[in-house]
């Protein structure tokens, strides 16, 4: 079996893979990083979104072998080592941006990718960017509100509908 090595959340990681091993399975099963979720396994839902060399990618639709040498960031790499939440995570908590929480890792990673390329998005831009992230609790209003808050914008006038 071939070996793959990459950097995951700033630390070197390697393991044995098959050709067909998906990145999400390598993260979850080999590295034990189960924060990245598999919702649909058909690249629709976005629960498996991680960053590959700084870009949001659906980890269920990329082979682990293709991540050789890449910098991967997962939801486990967002909070500070002492447990202090990343500002996006803190905003999700503050604004009730999650209900069951299953989609949240992907939502947070997509939001982080958005804010990295567009630090102060409009509400429409946030909704557009989340096109590939599905929340079955229909919590979109508060998710959008949380992301706008994390971008430093005043969300006091955005009603929680």
């Amino acid at each position: 079996m071939p070996e793959v090595s990459m950097t995951v959340n700033g630390k070197p990681a390697k393991g044995q893979i098959e050709g067909r091993t998906l990145l999400v399975d390598f993260l979850r099963d080999t590295l034990g990083l189960t924060g990245t979720h598999v919702g649909c396994d058909t690249s629709q839902c976005g629960a498996c979104v991680v960053h590959v060399d700084g870009r949001a990618v659906k980890a269920c639709t990329m082979f682990a072998a293709e991540a050789e040498g890449a910098e991967i960031r997962t939801i486990e790499g967002m909070a500070e080592p002492d447990g202090t939440l990343h500002p996006i995570q803190a905003a999700f908590r503050e604004h009730h941006g999650l209900q069951c929480g299953f989609c949240t890792p992907g939502m947070v990673m997509s939001a982080a990718a958005l804010l990295a390329e567009n630090p102060t998005p409009t509400e429409a831009e946030v909704r557009d960017y989340l096109e590939g992230n599905i929340c079955r609790c229909t919590g979109y209003h508060n998710i959008v509100k949380a992301i706008l808050a994390a971008s430093g914008q005043d969300v006091s006038r955005i009603a929680a509908e």
Partner: protein, 262 residues
């Protein structure tokens, strides 16, 4: 998924060599092929991932003014970097969702030739040239029907050369679940005439609507399309829309594209 070996060459030469192996298949961004593999709709013995081949990525302008896009360039990079051809950049920016656009590539999309994909409409509508490891193929000769192209085994799309039109627009009526085009129409006006390419509608894949092209070449205005219509025969008919509905949408989206191109 059935088991397979995977290669990840760093040069085009190594990729061509790897594709010479028995039952080897090229892997672009994988946004179509990986779901197909999961459903066991494909069972290659070996995949040759092109994502490590830097020489087929990137965008530049050719000596003749054409916009040249490497076959391994992602939709996101085309959206951000094809500013010289705004209709093409806009098309790329509306494929799938952001995470899909960060992996999917123009070469992969064209080689797959999904009958509802966006890029084939841009390539055919622009009269672009598909450059491969073996030859240059005019858009009019490249597409050969649903999921079929003139590409031969082991041939890799290295570049697509788009002549930049005076005005152009792509209008997509999305199938709301998949975000693929239920019908998408690409209209491009060049000094020597207008091209109209339609995706999502025909059972034969992307096609040119020649009657609309003739009318628009005389008068580039939505009104020039009045009275023109297509038959629903041979159009895709499924739970999302009948053939007649798709034929009707082609005319609607063509008018919208002409209006948007201005």
């Amino acid at each position: 998924m059935y088991a397979f070996e995977i290669d990840r060459p760093n040069t085009l030469a190594d990729a061509v060599k790897a594709l010479g192996a028995e039952e080897a298949q090229a892997l672009g961004g994988g946004q179509t092929l990986i779901p197909a593999l999961k459903q066991r709709l494909a069972s290659p013995a070996r995949l040759v991932a092109l994502s490590g081949v830097a020489e087929i990525k990137g965008i530049c302008t050719g000596d003749d003014g054409a916009l040249c896009i490497g076959g391994g360039t992602t939709h996101a990079d085309v959206a951000a970097g094809a500013g010289a051809y705004p209709a093409l950049a806009a098309l790329a920016a509306n494929i799938g969702d952001p995470a899909v656009r960060n992996r999917g590539t123009i070469g992969g999309s064209l080689a797959n030739n999904d009958p509802s994909a966006c890029y084939p409409a841009a390539v055919l509508g622009s009269g672009a040239t598909v450059v491969t490891t073996n030859r240059q193929i005019a858009a009019d000769d490249f597409f050969e029907g649903m999921f079929t192209t003139t590409l031969e085994d082991g041939e890799i799309i290295t570049e697509v050369r788009f002549p930049v039109p005076e005005a152009a627009s792509y209008q997509k009526f999305e199938q709301p679940a998949s975000r693929f085009a239920l019908v998408g129409v690409f209209v491009a006006r060049f000094a020597d005439g207008v091209r109209v390419a339609v995706t999502g509608a025909s059972e034969e894949g992307v096609f040119r609507w020649s009657e609309a092209e003739a009318a628009l070449s005389k008068d580039f205005a939505p009104a020039a399309l009045e009275g023109l219509s297509l038959s629903g025969d041979g159009m895709i008919s499924d739970l999302h829309g009948s053939g007649d509905y798709r034929a009707h949408l082609v005319a609607v989206m063509t008018r919208r594209a002409v209006a948007a191109a201005g």
